[in-house]
Symmetry: none
Subunit: 407 residues, 2 copies
Amino acid sequence: MKHDAFLMKDLLIENESKIIMLVLDGVGDIHTPESPRTSLELASTPNLDALARVSVLGRHMPISMGITPGSGPAHLALFGYNPTRKEYDAGRGVLESLGIDFDLLPSDVAIRGNFASRDASGFLTDRRAGRIPTSECDRLCGMLQEKVGVLDGVEIIVRPVKDYRFALILRGEGLSPLICETDPQKTGLKPVPPTALDPEASKTEVLLQKLVETYNKILADEPRANTVLLRGISRLPTLESMWSRFGLRPAAIATYPLYRGVAKLVGMELMPMVDTIEEEFRILQENFAGPHNFFFIHIKRTDSYGEDGNQKGKIEVIEEVDRYIPVLRDLNPAVLMVTGDHSTPHVMKSHSWHPVPFMLHGPFCDLDGTEAFNETECDRGRLGIFPTVQIMPLALASAGRLLKFGA
Amino acid sequence: MKHDAFLMKDLLIENESKIIMLVLDGVGDIHTPESPRTSLELASTPNLDALARVSVLGRHMPISMGITPGSGPAHLALFGYNPTRKEYDAGRGVLESLGIDFDLLPSDVAIRGNFASRDASGFLTDRRAGRIPTSECDRLCGMLQEKVGVLDGVEIIVRPVKDYRFALILRGEGLSPLICETDPQKTGLKPVPPTALDPEASKTEVLLQKLVETYNKILADEPRANTVLLRGISRLPTLESMWSRFGLRPAAIATYPLYRGVAKLVGMELMPMVDTIEEEFRILQENFAGPHNFFFIHIKRTDSYGEDGNQKGKIEVIEEVDRYIPVLRDLNPAVLMVTGDHSTPHVMKSHSWHPVPFMLHGPFCDLDGTEAFNETECDRGRLGIFPTVQIMPLALASAGRLLKFGA
């Protein structure tokens, strides 16, 4: 199809329906000889399984076979935006800035910063500065902000994000995000100097080189965070809102900045930041009767445990989420979906390209006789394997929000 | 893919094979807790099931997930034309005019008319004039035609279609189809005056306003059909013929104008109009040895009963069609396909977005061990879920009419 929302708009109708999309980040696993059962298959999930029996199941493919998506593209696809479109390409700098509720301007250059450790010769010894806590990050950002507010006429804004991560925003005229990342991706190497990828970025190159030098001096005496790495140098893309595209008033319940950032990019209202899964579901309950009609709830730790190779941890998070499924069903949404954004098999300790378990419960979902929510049952599901961007049209249709195409 | 027939043409070869495509309109159902078995699953279909055991099964998706197709787009897809291409967009006026064998010119504006009832204040009381019979429609169209043959230098052609429906063709210079429909879609409202959607249509707007006024005067004393509603105001799109695209000489056996219209649009020859399923299969038998090598047979009433929520009626039509399957097999076509154009689940009383049961019988179809023709067996079929526009290439290949692509 030419446009990913090519014919949606003419078909949209409004009604009172509400849609819930519950995303367990990286929930999908794979089957190997050593680990023949996935976390979803091993977890005790009576409520998810009961929901599966009144749902239609399948697997969605975030980009295409063999392509492993990052969290940004994977969520864009879930929200109905083709993540391979150049103009939707939101850098990590933008996503993290939005995620901490920073109001980016279209001309701002947004950067994701890591505090890092280097030795006396300048070689990196830890790309995450020993994973310093957020409180330490707060102090360091405050110090950098206080010492450098403006440089070469450009406003420099530094905000803590989480742990060793901060957001760096350059605000001024004639800036460009076309600068290569300074993180060499390995310890034992020196950070790459900020380098323009395009002549239009030469002013920004000079500015960032000077800024990194200045920060290095300010941080020189810090025991761990004595340098910075700059990544995801980017500028706000303009995405049509989910309201304009799908006629929905969406709300996002998420605890991590990046996911809040993507949600904000597509025009979701960010619900208050909380810490626990229990609080996330409480926020949903409190807001369900309000003006929003699409609720995105994001569970982070399935992915974190997958990345750590900790299947036990992943199973525990799944089992915790399972206990809140009755809360969702009691709200009686027109459409209730449970899925992941991508797979993060614990045996791979990373995101992967494998299609993602999906289930949709709605009045005309077309029951498929599946009896549990896991990879093997999703493979038996009636939806088959389908592109992630088609989830939103399916959800809208299931909620009675799409007219027929043509006579 | 960029062009829906992107590489077909270089690969086409001719042979003596004949292909039959039997379409049971809206045949697909869904499974719900209240209606756990579909019409195909409940119907007694020994002949379709025997055919399934020597066929390959699957489900086709007319447009994409969640998108419910109208009959026009759904049939275009079956015939191998991407229905979302703007230039293939044939309005209902065009389809109905073609369906009654009217020879439209490319400059004609074709309109689907409804006779309707209104009260003394002009408010609609019945959008279908009490579903007057075709004989009444004939008389009214004759009267309108006799009284208004030309208006403002434009030739006005009125032809009865079926029941309360007629075709209105404007033939002249400087006309445009960019006029909004006058049907408000609800009784209790007044018809919308013909209104230009674009400045180029202002002449046509004035003409249609005058025409509706004139018709209202002529019809003033009719007990039921005392006004008209104008819909599907459109112009002939130019579609490549199935001969040019696929090297086929196609014939259409269909009893309803719209389906005959779409068939004509892609260059099918329309076989004589008949009323019953029995007669449709007789027409096929009589013409099978003739010059055509692709036969489209359309069964309407599976859809009509689906729209009425009448599962019993739907099952009876399926069982009736089943009795003629041996007729098809006795003709010994190279390829025999049985499918629908879209799903019309009786529980929804409308077209739906769910993928459509499909089976193809041919020498190298790749048997899949399925044992009956229904949704659940089609889900088990080897073809999986695939785009409807890929049916024609599959049929051509199965008939030995496609060469290898590349060396």
